[in-house]
Symmetry: C2
């Protein structure tokens, strides 16, 4: 690998750039960001060597599209026409159905790989980029067989070098499942933060009483609105289904509190404690 | 301090016992737990020297009531009659109004101190007890002036030695605020866990896609039903108010997704990002 172009120098694009330089010390990394401050910071912090030019798209091995999902869908059609014949374009967004539909009939579909590294944090922008972000994380790949064999094989080798576990899924399955295990968590956390901030306006010092549990549940409410707004809209159908189920569960639990139904409340929580075993499997927790 | 009696050998009672032995090496620690396995484990793990007898209540400096809040309310009336004249009885429960009402006219009210150390985790039982749990944490104290001066002063000295910051509040204020910054987080997390476990029954391998954000938001769903069921019921009025506001916020957000109201969704999340500054203040986060 000789040249890497990163479009969108945030947490994912920036962190990938850092790791790629470690894997390939001779790599030339160029980048673009719609925010001039982010482009400058990315250079100052060593995420890229220089700003990307049109000719970089032609001879880059990879062009990584790590921008909000609506922006990605808007630029892929044109971008795929502007890259070299052996360039692979990867997107890393948190929704996959729209972007796969967008490129479905593109003459250069075979030069595109739809990925979703499950490696986000609540931080964003070039200053959030860190080394080894992808180590031990899952790389979701959709429609892998639509990508040219040589380009996909090379990409899989790099994902392995990054320490990633690869999983395959259709875009539709991906978007349905990710609505539950990621998008819903973000909404739950944002609305929890909103609810507590609202009451805090009239009740001062309420945060004196906040413990580590509160911090944990509202952590995702620090996430970027520019990233998350288009995700919720693109994945609307699945997100609404998950959110409606969540609201129904909250209402049912609410009614059990109102009627002081000790046994039913106890059983709901006891059944949900089963999440311990699952989290243990995912995170190797104690 | 010569003798400490702990009723309820779980995370809070057990951790307190560990720290007290460090502060007062000559301390004799006795304990009781309704679960015989927990009593045995507490002895094996060095949380107490032996099981408490009736006479221990008479000469203990402190009797710490660290049991579920409904159990605490049930035993305090009798317990206060059975302790020595210079024994302080402390409760550490997550609700304060009911317990303060319960002891309000007790002839030995002055030997009782209502506290809530904001130091819980999602773990419970004697094996969850850890050293230095209270270091840097907030100790909420309600109706401090109802406790005898000498007993309160001695208790405050111990809290300082434990590294705790003390804050004072009425029981009603405490229960209102804690509904927002603790009880609501637990419900939000339990119901998120329930929602995802339900869909997982029909959709296998969904947890392959779970990232650190999911783990963070469902962490509290590992908490003990025996502890939390009575908390939600005792603090019903405040919990229902907070929960109804939360459900309303979720519904409003849901409708903004359905109508693809980009600007409104963005603004909701941007406004809630303000939680960053608050979490920074609480946890000294970056």
């Amino acid at each position: 690998m000789k040249k890497l172009a990163i479009i969108g120098l945030g947490l994912i694009g920036g962190s990938l750039s850092l790791d790629m330089k470690r894997l390939f010390p001779e790599l030339v990394r160029v980048g673009f960001d719609a925010n001039p401050d982010h482009l400058r910071l990315a250079q100052e912090n060593g995420l890229i060597e220089s700003a990307a030019t049109e000719s970089d798209l032609m001879d880059a091995d990879w062009v990584v599209v790590s921008v909000p999902v609506n922006v990605a869908c808007g630029l892929l059609e044109s971008l795929l026409h502007r890259v070299g014949e052996n360039t692979l374009v990867l997107d890393v967004g948190s929704t996959k159905a729209d972007v796969c539909r967008m490129v479905k009939h593109h003459p250069r579909r075979a030069q595109f790989l739809a990925t979703h590294p499950i490696a986000g944090t609540e931080f964003s922008g070039p200053t959030a980029a860190i080394h080894s972000l992808f180590q031990g994380k899952t790389q979701m790949i959709c429609e892998a067989d639509h990508t040219r064999d040589d380009l996909r094989t090379a990409a899989l080798q790099v994902f392995a070098l990054l320490g990633m576990r690869v999983a395959y899924m259709t875009p539709e399955e991906h978007d349905k499942h990710i609505a539950y295990v990621s998008h819903l968590s973000h909404i739950s956390s944002f609305m929890l933060g909103k609810t507590v901030l609202e009451i805090e306006k009239s009740e001062k010092n309420i945060f004196d009483m906040a413990g580590s549990g509160f911090g944990s549940t509202v952590r995702l409410a620090k996430s970027s609105p520019a990233m998350w707004t288009p995700i919720f809209i693109q994945n609307k159908t699945n997100v609404l289904t998950a959110l409606d189920e969540y609201i129904d569960n909250l209402k049912t639990f609410r009614n059990k509190i109102e009627t002081e139904n000790y046994e039913a409340l106890y059983k709901d929580m006891e059944d949900t404690n089963h999440i311990k075993q699952i989290l243990k499997g995912i995170y190797n927790e104690e």
